[in-house]
Amino acid sequence: MAETGELLDALDARAVRRNERRDFFKAAVGAAAVGAGAFAFSTRAAAQTSATDVDVLNFALNLEYLEAQFYLYAANGVGLPATQQDGTGTQGAVQITAGGVAQPRKVVFQDNIIAEYAQEIAADEAAHVAFLRTQLGRANAVAQPALNISGGPNGAFTAAARAAGLPVDPVTGFDPYLNDDNFLLGAFIFEDVGVTAYKGAGPLVQSKTFLQAAAGILAAEAYHSAIVRTTLYGRGAQTGSNLYDAVRRISAIRDTVDGTASSKDQGIAPTNLTATTTVGQNQTVLASNIVPTDASSIAFSRSPNEVLHIVYLTQAAASMGGFFPAGLNGNIRAATAVS
């Protein structure tokens, strides 16, 4: 029933009407939506919702603020320039506690190549912020909201790591700026979320130009995810299973907190291939899992509501929390509890 769930998510722009829609489509579509039904059922008209392109792009802009600030601090020790933070709504800052531990800062990378990846991703995310702000224009673009990208006892990264069941230092909490592995795990918390968010939001966009732009940012986010997952996989193969287990736990908590029963997340650990997937061969072999996909090898979608649950770090109805202590700016900001 995975495709039924994704179809529903594509239709779901207003979280508040999610449950009614779900019930309606469950009844209207039923089991036939499996397989070719993904193409057969929904029409463009059926996807019409009250979310405007401005709403959707602003939702994306909030997420890009978060990613850009994390990567910029990790790569350079300095965040977005002030000229890239203003806009409509309540402007906030990256929360930094003077004298606090595990604050946002430049990572001292042991591996120069990972530092080079961080530089590249930071530049891409900052470019996404600039692009969305330009397209929305000053009258429409939301301001950066308050962001919590700290480790330490009160940091959102620590809260996420605790929820995932990662080992958390009692003093510094989970510090994503501590070293190469922690940076990669911190990045992993965000990266696939961006992919699923853009994929879920794409069909909500009406303008063909923005649709293609969203597809292009989706692709960039998927490249980023692949950098992070591939690097974690390679390091996990060298150092044993600790990294694989940490990734699995983060993936699992995202899957739980997004509030839907269907699985939309996967770790990276090697899996066994069986005869049915290896064109008739009968041997059992190992394959990596760099790409999180459904059984048709299609990446997952998340509705804005599901993404909000993840970045707010709560399954409950909420308008703020986690990485966004004052909530997102814009019209898509309230996460409603889902079944």
């Binding site: 790569a75 530092a115 597809a215 064109v279």
Partner: protein, 358 residues
């Protein structure tokens, strides 16, 4: 590499050029017979749509009724998936994709194998000598086979057959032709992507970003929300694959000098093959490809230090799009117009989208 931001005004300014491009695309890709209907159909799902941010949803785009239909676009994607699936299936498992996944509309072809018994250049299981790279190859192979299966399932009876495919690295192999054209090997050299792990990665690199740009170019040609989402989902998976391959080449290229250089050569060759006169919906300009180094991604940051270039993007951090005709220029290995076969598809692709335009 554009160094200025794309504004909506610039996108609008480029409308005339796009119109010309679409005419060329339809002339070649859709055939002269459907010119009039095709033009209006494509226009309806292209820049006649709102190019400005609007507070309310624009009207439902009119689905194409002639010219390039959704089925045409999906069949075009299917042709590319046949190519990728067979390459990875040979590399990972030593066999082509299952024959139950190849039949359909058009002329059925097979993976062409070199005559004689020489091993070099023949599609075959790669001797990776690296279990981790082998695990990556298996994962990608399964994904690509699943994409073939998914698209065939979605297209049902209108699915186009697998065409003849040349994925060899011998003297007449398409991989050798591509490597010669890009300068990875000399004019008489051979490039065997099945020889070892690094050769495999370069062979994979040749395809991967093409798939990403192809799906991104196809998305605005689609009108059904669920189809758009499915295509976006395959698009994302191709980007994960490309990111995986590029990350490995970048990492291994830190110690194997030729790897980054050769990736750059392949990228440059793709960029030449796909033509120059195409701005596209996003005004991305003629440069649609990038190697692994040498591209500062953005001027909007206060970045310091060296950056990799795993992600090929424009100045806005947005991946590149290619039209179907541009993609065909690359897989046919020809920069010319109106080519209907060549390179990796010696008898051309099946389906209505099958000729080049660059």
């Amino acid at each position: 590499m554009r160094d200025n931001d794309v504004s909506l005004l610039e996108v609008l300014d480029a409308a005339a050029e796009r119109r010309d491009r679409r005419r060329r695309f339809l002339k070649t890709a859709a055939g002269g017979a459907v010119m009039v209907g095709g033009l209006s159909a494509l226009a309806a799902c292209d820049d006649d749509d709102n190019n400005t941010v609007t507070p309310t949803p624009s009207p439902t785009p009119t689905p194409p009724t002639s010219g390039v239909s959704e089925a045409d676009v999906l069949n075009f994607a299917l042709q590319l998936e046949y190519l990728e699936a067979n390459f990875y299936s040979y590399a990972a498992f030593g066999v082509p994709i299952d024959s139950g996944l190849t039949g359909g509309v058009g002329t059925l072809g097979s993976v062409q194998l070199p005559s004689g018994n020489a091993l070099a250049g023949r599609p075959r299981q790669v001797a990776f000598n690296d279990p981790v790279i082998e695990q990556y190859a298996r994962e990608i192979a399964v994904d690509e086979i699943n994409h073939v299966r998914f698209l065939r399932g979605a297209l049902t009876s209108s699915a186009a057959a697998q065409p003849a495919i040349n994925i060899s690295g011998d003297a007449t192999g398409a991989f050798t032709a591509a490597a010669r054209a890009s300068g990875v090997v000399g004019s008489t050299g051979l490039f065997d992507p099945y020889a070892d792990a690094n050769s495999f990665l370069l062979g994979a690199f040749l395809f991967e970003d093409v798939g990403v740009t192809a799906y991104m170019g196809a998305v605005p040609l689609l009108t059904t929300a669920s189809t758009i989402e499915a295509a976006a989902g395959i698009h994302a998976v191709e980007a994960y694959h490309a990111g995986l391959v590029r990350t490995l080449l970048y990492r291994r290229g830190a110690t194997v000098a030729d790897l980054r250089t050769n990736a750059g050569r392949i990228s440059a060759a793709r960029d030449t093959l796909d033509g120059t006169a195409n701005t596209g919906l996003l005004g991305q300009g003629a440069n649609r490809d990038q190697g692994l180094t040498g591209n500062t991604t953005s001027t909007a940051t206060n970045n310091t230090g060296t950056a990799s270039n795993i992600v090929p993007t424009d100045a806005n951090g947005i991946a590149f799009a290619r039209s179907p005709a541009q993609v065909l220029n690359i897989v046919y290995l020809t920069a010319g117009t109106a080519a209907a076969s060549g390179g990796f598809f010696p008898a051309g692709v099946n389906g209505t989208v099958r000729t080049t335009a660059a």
